[in-house]
């Protein structure tokens, strides 16, 4: 009994020695840290600029009628959140020149008989001249003018005192308790990207380093079991990943951007983070042992993390992807991690948590086993 305890204590000490060595080396390698955080930072920059630019194309407004209805429409168009009026003029030529010089994406013209046509209930077209370079923002502009006309009619009490002619009223029911803005929503897949990159790259580099620096010979000749070495490698990859996760979660909680409400959701968030980090570290050890070279680890690890990021929703919302792509996403473990974190952090919900946790636990087990097998095989070789 005593001998067993001593043996297990010395195994723990050996494992911890490997962990301490790997973390110490990692902290002295700024390039490893850069490799870990750069892709996530790059995507954060993208999201920031993306959130600023969403659907706000510059538009010129030509107003040829000064009647009250025309002015009302001008007012609605000026406050549209679908585009920004950067030029308001009474000169169609000036606006068309701005369109030609790419200063604006479209020219909206309110004709000189707008009020007269409206009052006499005759067709009253408002023209939009669009630089239709691509369907995405062209459709934004196509939607924006009818949307403004919708507001125009919704606010309307016509001249004869009748209310708006539109009798259909939308009754909206939201499935979620709150709306989350784009930037905040995308922080979660970005956190998952950071965890997968950190796990794969850090554990991968720590493992490959032993071959790159030829220290694997010393480790194999040292009086420690192969299992201690494998567990140490896995544990160090896991801990470095968790270290990064802790920093992000702390900043997120303090700033309020990533703050789960209540202990249950904190616990589920932490369990999900632990599982993603473990799965990534396992995969990293597997890649590191198979590749045995720094360059190969980064060349495989970073694109792989980015692939997982994109396929789990990434910079968009998975529910808006085509069905075939959603089907593929359901085979990507990080999809479940992203879903579980979003529901816990933003919606204080455990919807689908059992499935998410099962998939992540299964993935951690498979990745860990893969790491153990790959490292064992490489050590034997």
């Amino acid at each position: 009994m005593t001998r067993m305890m001593i043996s297990s204590n010395s195994s723990i000490i050996r494992v911890l020695a490997i962990v301490r060595k790997d973390i110490g080396v990692w902290l002295r390698q700024p390039t490893s840290i850069a490799a870990t955080v750069l892709p996530a930072i790059a995507f954060m920059v993208i999201l920031y600029f993306g959130a600023q630019a969403v659907g706000r194309n510059p538009v010129a407004l030509v107003v040829l009628d000064s009647g009250p209805h025309a002015q009302e429409l001008v007012n609605i168009l000026s406050h549209s959140d679908a585009f920004k009026i950067t030029m308001m003029t009474t000169s169609p030529e000036k606006a068309e020149e701005a369109l030609k010089q790419l200063k604006v994406a479209a020219v909206i013209t309110i004709p000189n008989n707008f009020d007269a046509a409206y009052n006499s209930q005759k067709p009253d077209p408002v023209t939009i001249h669009i630089n239709n370079l691509n369907l995405d923002f062209t459709n934004d502009l196509r939607r924006s003018l009818p949307a403004a006309i919708t507001v125009f009619y919704a606010d309307k009490t016509s001249s004869n005192g009748k209310t708006s002619p539109i009798q259909i009223h939308v009754k909206e029911t939201d499935l979620r308790t709150q709306d989350i803005d784009l930037l905040r929503f995308e922080l979660v897949p970005n956190l998952v990207l950071l965890l997968t990159t950190a796990g794969i790259v850090n554990a991968g580099l720590a493992t490959a380093r032993e071959w790159e620096d030829s220290t694997i010979k010393e480790l194999l000749l040292a009086p420690i079991s192969k299992m201690s070495l494998i567990v140490g490698k896995l544990l160090s990859g896991w801990l470095t990943t968790l270290l990064i996760a802790a920093v992000v979660l702390l900043v997120g909680a303090v700033s309020g951007y990533l703050r789960p409400e209540g202990p249950i959701y904190w616990i589920s968030t932490l369990v999900i983070v632990l599982l993603i980090a473990l799965a990534s570290a396992g995969l990293g050890v597997a890649i590191g042992a198979a590749a045995r070279r720094f360059q190969r680890v980064t060349a495989i690890g970073i694109p792989l993390s980015i692939d997982l990021f994109f396929l789990s929703g990434g910079i968009t919302v998975a529910a808006f992807l085509p069905t075939w792509l959603q089907t593929i996403a359901h085979f990507v473990p990080t999809f479940y991690g992203t879903h579980a974190l979003q529901t816990a952090i933003f919606y204080s919900s455990t919807e689908g948590l059992a499935l998410d946790l099962s998939v992540l636990a299964g993935t951690s087990l498979v990745a860990g086993t893969l790491g153990v097998l790959s490292l064992r095989r490489s050590m034997l070789a």
Binding site: F49, N134, I149, T150, E172, D174, L205
Partner: protein
Amino acid sequence: MHILKMSPAYRFISVIWAMALKDIKSTLTERAFMLTSIIIPINFLLLFLLFALTGGQAPTAVVLKDNGPYAQQLLSAMEHSHSFIILQTTASDAQNLMQKGQIVAIVTVPANFDAALKHGSQVELPVVVNNLDVDFTNDIRRAVPLAITSFYADAFPNQVVVRAHEIDIYSQDTGYVQYLVVGLMVVSVMLGGLLQAGSNAAREYEKGTIKELMLAPASPWAIQVGKILGAVILNSLSVAVVVIVIVFLIGVWPMHWGELLGFVLLLMITFVAAGALIGTLIRRRQAVIPLSIGLSIPVFFISGAFGPAIWGDPITAAVAQLQPVYYGIAVFQHAFHNFTTTSTGPRVDGFILIGFAAVMVTVSAIALGRNRGRGVAH
């Protein structure tokens, strides 16, 4: 002939060719990395295309409890609103699809829809929204009322007389994917160039061969130009694959082939020179990959890949105009679609790119030359 006995011009060219050949041979011995440098840009191209597939249209179930003509007209208005991917289904199927996350909204047209409208009474249109994030949710919130107004303009033209009359500059619309792949091609050329040349340059420091190069009786300009030439030749493999995917697989055919090939070469020189500079400065191949990816992604996003950059935030647009990807996307848009996407126009953009290429080659050669002046330590 001994190198010192050659004429200076011949010696310069010989060094360039020898360097290019050496780098090509060295890279060919590292097949795994070579394959990766071809795969990574293609991988990016395909991943970002996934982003384009969302296209801003909300997958929406419409439950028609009334099949009258007005209900059908409302459905048609929704289908033509450029906002929804419509799936007409039953209430229970719609709930199932919502639970599976395959749709984001359910619009239910009530049983009394036609009757209420015929009598001029109010009718409620229930809309259930999976309000996942505010950007996508607001698209749905805006799109339903505009579909209703469009419906009224068709069904009751005497009541809703104000309509949008659209005139387009180009006779036909260009799909989002067709537009986006052009920007993706530029970033693929950038990524491939940075990876290839950056690794080639850093390899000299990792293996210590930079000392021999610096002690050789050759100009650092010739050495760096040779390294750039070698990387351009190697990078052309990755670029060729990207062009094949875009033209033959995705089906985006360039309108001006000559322009495309000329600008591809110019961009390859620019980014390969930038990669050689990065490799010379950071001296570690391990850091070249994350730095190249970390640099390419944000630059791609701010440079007008999704639409003219000058229509976006003014500060971002000003920053974008300080680097070559902005002009690269503009000249490629012209070569592929005959589009003008910058206020300067494709001709001036081309000259600016020539300037960037010259500056990059010069700076990278100076950076290498400074190693000789200071002595190399790695």
